[in-house]
């Protein structure tokens, strides 16, 4: 019976090993397809996007300075961080300002590519003349949120101004209509006036319009404040309000709902209960906050190159490395089998099963494998091997269950510093470190469970045979 149990476990290990290293092939559209999930590789091992940006051609010579290039590089880094990019390399060519960004190729890469050159300049200007009233340099940061009222959710962005900006916005608020309700009132009044004027023109023969009424209308017009609008994007400046520059104006105007000391609140979209609209408004608001808070580009940049680069580390090289490691492991396992005889052989078989399950676990837990991750895999294999040899050594002297359990306990106590390192790195925002942490974490969990369930059972069955 015990023999059958051992054979069953060994066969199960062989099956798992075959699934992990050979795969499960099924026919799909006249070809065989492996149904076992593939590994997720990091940028250095798989493929990455390389984006090169450079200053736009008509940039003033005086602005093309190393200091400005450096500001842009830092801003770019902040943007990528705010967008949640977890793996990137940025390099700057100080001679011509070209910035090269290497990113991993995934669902977010195009989004990052868009925000790399996007402008988030805040500007308040006079609506009719386009004269700039408050410039982007007076803006400090921005944050977004939403409020719920009886008609639904209203998303908003709160723009914080500098001291200079605070003085300026007070001046604007006194002399201009900037709040959305003020503008609505003025526009309604203007519409009304236009209608009255039209009516007056139509009834040219009627001379019933009194002189007093004309004067009153004139007075109202004088009292009417000029309208100021807030825009975000790449705004046109008063100096380039030509027809050509209008084409490059990619800014969007937003309704200002509140001005409070050094804060301007702008509404994003309208109040709505539609979840899709709320989500869209929130993502627009987060985009604005990110662009405003991450800093400004003193020079406008454009994308020169945006392409996919496949890693210089080829599959062949990875395979050679894997085979070399496998060969070393086989030698070690043969040595263990010779030294500890049947017990050693069973532990070796169990170890192969461990490696197979570990490889499946990494694939199905969606763990990204980086170069640091490969080191973690090797470290986990080494730790498991050490635990197995420790158990074999202990069993040579004392076979009681308690002693074996104590060995497990002591072994894991020794591993506490490594467990700390693994858990902390699991939460690291940098892909390469989190890859190391995640692999270590899953590996240590598997070592704890697998050895108790499989290795220990196999050895126990062998003893009582």
């Amino acid at each position: 019976m015990k023999k059958i149990k051992i054979i069953t476990i060994v066969l199960a290990i062989i099956l798992v090993t075959l699934v992990a290293f050979v795969g499960v092939y099924m026919q799909k559209q006249n070809r065989m397809e492996n149904k076992v999930k593939d590994y997720q590789l990091s940028r250095e091992l798989d493929r990455g996007r390389v984006i090169e940006i450079k200053p736009v051609e008509d940039t003033e010579e005086g602005k093309l300075t190393v200091k400005n290039y450096q500001v842009i590089k830092n801003t770019l880094e902040k943007r990528l961080k705010n967008l949640g990019a977890t793996d990137y390399v940025i390099s700057l060519n100080t001679a011509d300002g070209t910035i090269r960004i290497e990113l991993p190729e995934d669902d977010n890469t195009d989004l990052y590519a868009y925000y790399i050159t996007a402008q988030g300049q805040v500007q308040i200007r006079e609506k009719d003349t386009g004269v700039e009233l408050l410039s982007d340099s007076m803006v400090k940061s921005a944050k977004y949120n939403y409020i719920y009222n009886s008609s639904g959710y209203q998303t908003y962005v709160e723009i914080e101004l500098t001291k200079e900006g605070q003085a300026k916005i007070e001046e604007i608020a006194n002399n201009y209509a900037i709040l959305s309700n003020e503008i609505d009132e003025i526009e309604a009044k203007q519409e009304e006036d236009t209608e009255t004027t039209e009516e007056t023109t139509e009834q040219t023969t009627q001379e019933a319009t009194t002189e007093n009424e004309e004067n009153a209308a004139q007075e109202t017009q004088e009292q009417t404040k000029k309208i100021a609008v807030l825009s975000i994007g790449t705004p046109k400046t008063s100096s380039d309000s030509t027809e050509d520059s209008e084409e490059t104006d990619t800014s969007t105007e937003y309704d200002v709902s509140k001005i409070e000391k050094n804060k301007i609140t702008i509404n994003i979209g309208t109040t709505t209960t539609n979840s899709t609209s709320v989500q869209n408004n929130m993502s627009k608001a987060s985009e604005i906050s990110m662009l405003v808070s991450s800093g400004k580009y003193p020079i406008e940049y454009e994308i020169e190159n945006n392409r996919l680069e496949i890693s210089s580390i080829t599959t062949k090289q990875i395979m050679i490395f894997a085979i070399a490691i496998l060969a070393i492991l086989v030698i070690i396992l043969i040595a263990i089998s010779i030294k500890y005889k049947l017990q050693g052989l069973l532990v070796s078989i169990s170890f192969i099963g461990f490696v197979a399950i570990f490889s499946l676990l990494l694939r199905y837990a969606n763990v990204l494998i980086s170069i640091e991750g490969i080191y973690a895999i090797l470290l986990i294999c080494a730790i498991n091997l050490k635990l197995n040899t420790d158990i074999l050594e202990v069993r040579k002297v004392n076979m009681t269950n308690e002693v074996v359990l104590n060995t497990y306990k002591e072994f894991f106590i020794k591993l506490i510093p490594i467990i700390i390192i693994s858990i902390v790195f699991c939460f690291a925002s940098w892909t390469n470190l989190s890859s190391f942490g995640m692999i270590m974490f899953w590996g240590l969990v598997l070592i704890a469970i697998y050895n108790v369930l499989i290795t220990k059972t196999l050895l126990k069955l062998k003893e009582s045979k």
């Binding site: 070209t98 210089s312 080191y375 510093p417 902390v424």
Partner: protein, 211 residues
Amino acid sequence: MKQLIEKKKKILIIIILALIILAGMLMTIFLGFNKEARFEQAKRIDIYVEQKVDLEKVKEKVKEVLGNDSIVQVVEVYEDMVTIRSKDITEEQKNEIVNKVKEIYEFEQTAEDTAINVIPTTRFRDLFKPYVIPFIIVSVLVIIYFMIRYYKLGILKVFGKTFLAILLGQILLFSILAITRIPVGIYTPVLILMIYILVISMLDKHFRKNS
């Protein structure tokens, strides 16, 4: 007598370590680290081959012209373009590479059409910045753990030993990298992790033995 030999051994080890660190510092000051080619300022040429590229074949051809000091990568989704980067690519080398690739593939792009682009250098601080905070957090937690677990050895002593060992381990690694001119690049974080884990494990063993 045995104690004296042990003491002498210790002093000798300290002297050797100090010499390695000193030499490493001097090398870093005067020569800097040997940066991996992919992070150095380099020149790049792109060749559009118009068909799926066999990287190994192209690598061989490039090696004939540039030697081992080059990186060849396949570019774009259809893998029909190669990018070759090296510390320096002269006009003659460029022409030679294009013509050599033409020996294995038929394509339109000529050597004259091929431009040499400059790839900026990547600074060390940009490469290793993301690792600093996680390593500081881990070190603080490990030090706290050791201080609690081995409080009998003296909290300050444990703190001092752990802090110094972690720091010296990394300084020693970078000194060796500077002296041996091993390229610093994508494999360096693995070495840092190796040394870090080795130092922590050795410290744990040392404290356990003495407690």
